[in-house]
């Protein structure tokens, strides 16, 4: 220990300013998710950043990799996606592993319902198509690549469904699951359909 210290201080003397400055530089890591995604990744409506706590590790990985590879968050009209993509661009595989580990340490607490104007009864009918992949209780299904929807921020679900419908998300040729979503979401038809189905999902818990 002492030896390392001596060698180190000698370096500083001989090479001068640069190495001293380098060692004084502010350290950092890539654990900056909570600035946007809120306390323990519970989502922040103020910046439209969704809940990460409780998201499946395989789903997180796929999305982070899609953002990093410019598969998601590239359409100019996808406001939230285009905000997220540059934040993932420089993540290394190790950082992605670390972030996923970190996220799994947060408690899952379901989000509060915030949206108004949806009709959950009609939504139940529409949800039938979703249930095939996402499960009757919206708890997700890894083998089909479908994440849980229950407990997610409803405003986020609404935005994403709208984005799928308009082709702002899922249009990239390498976004296989996104393409599936685009087909499925067409059955919701319009904003009213989206509000209905999300207000039904709000009734499901996991």
């Amino acid at each position: 220990m002492l030896k390392t210290f001596l060698v180190f201080s000698l370096c500083m003397v001989c090479i001068g300013g640069t190495s001293a400055a380098e060692s004084e530089r502010e350290p950092f890591d890539d654990r900056y998710c909570t600035t946007c995604h809120g306390t323990d990744g519970r989502g922040n409506e103020g910046v439209q950043a969704p809940r990460l706590a409780g998201m499946e590790p395989w789903y997180l990985r796929r999305q982070l990799e899609n953002f990093r590879a410019d598969i998601r968050g590239v359409h100019a009209e996808d406001r939230e996606g285009t905000a997220m993509r540059p934040m993932a661009t420089k993540l290394t595989d190790e950082s992605i592993d670390d972030i996923i580990d970190w996220i799994s340490s947060w408690d899952y607490i379901p989000a509060e319902a915030t949206i108004k104007g949806g009709d959950p009864l009609r939504g139940r009918g529409l949800y039938g198509g979703c249930a095939v992949c996402h499960g009757a209780n919206a708890t997700g299904n890894q083998s089909l690549g479908a994440p849980a929807l229950a407990g997610q921020n409803d405003w986020y679900l609404v935005t994403q469904l709208k984005n799928f419908l308009a082709g702002y998300r899922g249009a990239h040729p390498d976004d296989t699951y996104g393409a599936q979503m685009r087909t499925m979401v067409s059955t919701l038809r319009n904003e009213a359909g989206i509000l209905n189905v999300v207000s039904y999902i709000n009734l499901l818990s996991r």
Partner: protein, 529 residues
């Protein structure tokens, strides 16, 4: 004389013109009446806080965020015996008062940079706050009290440039050329419309004469009330040992090719009108002035993640070094940006949360370069701003360090909508500013180095440049004003939101200081009650 032409179809008659002038007369009359009734502000003093000494049983104060408003609260409350703890999530104090120097980290999420500027006192860049208007008296009062050296900030420089591909074949013209000729032409138009016919009401002969001489001098008209160029724009040659030769006029039709005038001519009015100041050595010297007194109270890398207001106090949960901590206090002052606060667990009343959620965040963007030599000084430019119609918009030349070898210049500033540059990679941003800047300074690309960019929308712990309360540019709606008043009031008399976000004039340090002072005065009054 034919009526003045405005646009293609609408013409202004002399009668309309005089009515307009009459309306101005009306304003003058109203002004007089107004001041007689005491409706107009008198030259006000900086606020003086007269806080009572802390009650020893209730003196613990939590301050969330070491922004200017948080530091103001810490400084004032410490003076009267409160025990303050400041929790700051980043590695530095000052928030949006951010001066970047050699070795500093610019913590943009996904695009971290270390500043490589030379390590010298004048080689800094004010990435956030940069100008202090002389009317921001509360901020200036702290500068005086904390003995912070100020110097003049040069906002307008007549030798700086304006550049627009539509104007002058894309070759930049000097500020002085644009302003002198534009004033000349405007004055000529005015003079013509006034002299064409007898001067009836609303003027007396002597008023009319004064007005005419004002117009003449505004535009430097000749004795026939015509604009024939002016030496105000400087000389084409000579002027000292030889006769000065007047520059050629730039035709009005040419000047009208650019839309920039409407931004350019008022760029040094209002909040950015003279006098403006900056802190000597960087705006964060102001922050240093505060931290000299309260710096020991700051816990860095301490990210607040829950605020619970209770009947007998307030609990703040925060993370530091990967562990959870709890801070229990009697009162709390919070300058965490509203859009971040909405993601932090809290038990605030619904209306209060609605107000926090209502505020949108701005996207201002700045960039800077180190110049290998002060090339602008060779073009007679010392300080000030050149304006471009391209997205980089501005080049700022430093207001200090004249005639030194190097200097730091601002290479882009989009204060209204920085989304374009924010969306780019670092390399794309820099290339854009070089391409834009070389339209003014042809050798720019070779003269600058060590670029930095600051996209406030993506800065860690900030995620925005300043609060946007108004959805419409028309002014505040009734609903917006109500939400603002809700946010200004404390929760349970214990938790105050502060910062320029709790003002009607965001994006100024003065507003951050005044919001803190407002909260402190309210706090003190409640304790007395």
């Amino acid at each position: 004389m034919p009526p003045l032409e405005v646009g293609v179809s609408k013409q202004v008659t002399r009668r309309e013109f005089l009515n307009l002038l009459g309306a101005a007369g009306g304003t003058a009359a109203a002004l007089k009446a107004g001041s007689a009734l005491g409706l107009l502000p008198h030259t006000a003093q900086a606020a003086t806080l007269d806080l009572r000494a802390a009650n020893p049983a209730k003196r613990k104060v939590a301050i969330l965020g070491a922004g200017l408003s948080g530091l103001t609260v810490a400084y004032e409350l410490s003076k009267v015996g409160y025990e303050c703890t400041i929790l700051e999530s980043s590695h530095r104090p000052g928030g949006r008062v951010f001066t970047v120097r050699h070795g500093d980290l610019i913590d943009e999420i996904g695009n971290r940079q270390y500043c490589e500027f030379d390590d010298e006192p004048h080689m800094y860049f004010n990435a956030g706050a940069a100008r202090i208007p002389s009317t921001h008296r509360n901020l200036l009062a702290y500068c005086k009290e904390l003995e912070i050296d100020l110097e003049v900030f040069i906002n307008e420089n007549k030798t700086s440039f304006m550049q627009d591909p539509a104007l002058n074949g894309g070759k930049p013209i000097r500020n002085i050329d644009y302003t002198t000729h534009t004033r000349g032409f405007l004055a000529e138009l005015l003079a013509k419309s006034l002299s064409a016919g007898e001067m009836d009401q609303p003027f007396t002969d002597s008023e009319a004469e004064t007005l005419m001489s004002l117009i003449r001098s505004f535009g430097d008209l000749n004795e026939d009330n015509l604009y024939k160029g002016s030496l105000r724009a400087g000389y084409a040659s000579g002027g000292f040992l030889e006769h000065g030769v007047q520059k050629d006029i730039i035709a009005m039709s040419e000047l009208l090719k650019t839309q920039m005038g409407s931004r350019f001519l008022n760029a040094s009015e209002g909040d950015t009108g003279p006098m403006l100041f900056q802190a000597v050595g960087g705006m964060d010297k102001i922050i240093e002035g505060f931290t000299n007194h309260v710096g020991h109270q700051i816990h860095y890398r301490s990210m607040v993640n829950a605020v619970e207001v209770k009947d007998d106090g307030i609990d703040i949960a925060y993370d530091q070094d990967g562990t959870h901590h709890l801070l229990q206090a009697d009162f709390c002052f919070n300058c965490i940006p509203s859009h971040i606060m909405t993601g932090i667990t809290n038990n605030f009343p619904t209306q209060y949360v609605d107000a926090l959620k209502y505020i949108r965040r701005g996207t201002a963007y700045k960039s800077a370069f180190q110049a290998k030599e002060r090339f602008w000084e060779k073009e007679d430019i010392y300080g000030g701003i050149s304006w471009m119609s391209n997205p980089s918009k501005q080049i700022w030349y430093p207001s200090a360090g004249m005639h030194k070898q190097k200097g730091i210049i601002l290479g882009a500033y989009d204060y209204i909508d920085g989304k374009l540059h924010t969306a780019m990679t670092q390399e794309q941003r820099i290339e854009a500013h070089l391409t834009d800047g070389e339209k003014i300074h042809p050798n720019y690309r070779n003269q600058v180095e060590k670029p930095i960019t600051i996209a406030w929308h993506r800065m860690n712990h900030m995620l925005g440049c300043s609060a946007r309360w108004q959805r419409d540019s028309d002014g505040w709606t009734h609903e917006e004003e109500e939400l603002y008043r809700v946010l200004q009031q404390p929760v349970n008399g214990r938790h105050y939101m502060i910062g320029d976000q709790v003002s009607m004039h965001s994006a100024w340090q003065e507003s951050a200081v005044m919001s803190a002072q407002w909260a402190l005065a309210d706090f003190d009054q409640r304790l007395q009650a």
